[in-house]
Symmetry: C2
Subunit: 247 residues, 2 copies
């Protein structure tokens, strides 16, 4: 624990791994200093809750390392993941007192918190923060809409392939070997994948087995995926083959 705290205390904006992608990306040195005055780090172990829906939130935060999930739960227990927070993603909403979703650390997690009131004040006085937050929120909205297409119209197999493709695409530990193969770790359990995709965990398991049986992917252990041919995986997602033309 003391060792852990030590690591937290080593963090500074100067060495921060998300310095240029997070909500503070556009900030100048003086603005960063103002942010620094209201920030503090927190860490959570894999599996721990960060906040429950309805709880009062006294902070907003950026994910520094690790992965967290946003989930909604219905009265009878049905659950749907509505967000996946990766390093540099923002959690919480300025101007809102209570959390709207359950937030859970799915891996060990470090977040950079800003006390909400002073953060809101800073947003009003330094446009760079609000500008960046708008940009990030628009990106999230686009991601949510792509996800809606997945939830509403894709088959179980397409859903699995899409999720694997998303993780492969934005996983930092992804390594492309010489021949176009990719390897990565799944950061989610089968149940979490099911909550993400609007499926049951059994269907997730069966579809993964099917993709494995057909050679689209290979498993090394339960959580490590090897994709021999990324194009073949992408062909299973149901998405356009040409990923949209550059603007």
């Amino acid at each position: 624990m003391s060792q852990h705290d030590l690591k937290l205390n080593d963090l500074t904006c100067g060495t921060c791994p998300i310095r240029h992608r997070a909500v503070c990306a556009r900030c100048e040195a003086d603005e960063l200093e103002q942010l620094g005055a209201i920030k503090y780090y927190r860490s959570y172990q894999a599996g721990q809750p960060v906040i429950w829906s309805g709880d009062q939130m006294e902070f907003v935060a950026s994910v520094v390392t690790g992965i967290a999930t946003l989930t909604q739960t219905m009265e009878d227990g049905r659950r749907q993941m509505v967000g996946l927070l990766l390093p540099s993603d923002f959690m919480g909403r300025p101007g809102r007192a209570n959390a709207a979703y359950d937030v859970t650390a799915t891996t060990d997690l470090v977040i950079c918190c800003f006390r909400k009131k002073p953060f809101e004040a800073l947003m009003a006085s330094t446009p760079h923060i609000g500008q960046r937050l708008l940009e990030m929120t628009l990106d999230e909205l686009d991601a949510a809409r792509e996800w809606m297409l997945l939830l509403g119209r894709k088959t179980a197999r397409e859903k699995i392939a899409s999720l694997l493709a998303i993780i492969a695409r934005r996983n930092a530990s992804l390594r492309l070997t010489e021949d176009g193969a990719a390897r990565f770790d799944l950061p989610l359990t089968r149940e979490q994948m099911a909550d993400y995709l609007g499926l049951t965990l059994e269907t997730v398991s069966r579809q993964i087995s099917a993709l494995k049986r057909e050679g689209v992917i290979a498993l090394e252990g339960k959580r490590h995926i090897m994709v021999p041919d990324l194009d073949r995986l992408l062909a299973e997602t149901g998405d356009d083959s040409d990923g949209g033309m550059p603007s």
Copy 2:
């Protein structure tokens, strides 16, 4: 047509029905004047396309009157609605050259367009616009996430009930009669409802018939809905009975 243009030309910010809810809500008189210099109105008839995904967009816009839909289409024709634009909602994204979704007018539609380049410049110089846009985008993100729960986890019956409840809640022409009954027009065809809910149009039709048969709703024509007991409808949505506590 000339009569139509006449009506468009009558529009001014001073009499604009969405003046206090749209992206210009927070603007002062001088800011409004700057916006006014780069704005122009357009109108579309029900059913007409406003823009196709991938098209270059030379403007962003606010919906003034009428309803438009945002939809995504897969190669094989499967479609999913990802947004429903009501008066005051914003379309387009500053900083993006091409449209990401198909936009279609589902009723007669009037939008207030801002030329994109000057709008982006204005956003940089007048914080009020960006602030309001951030607020609206965060609201849309919340709506998208609630919609994800619907798409991923609700039954066909719950989906229909939820859609009716949403329309009932925010339809301006909603009238509550003395005894708690509500009446409103459906702005969508059965097929559009299906695209919204991730269902087929046949399933939509069947579920509406079922709700009618059981007295949860009554139809007056195909498009006019009467809800004798709103609470009964809400109970069918699967959502929390208490609509969340005020913060």
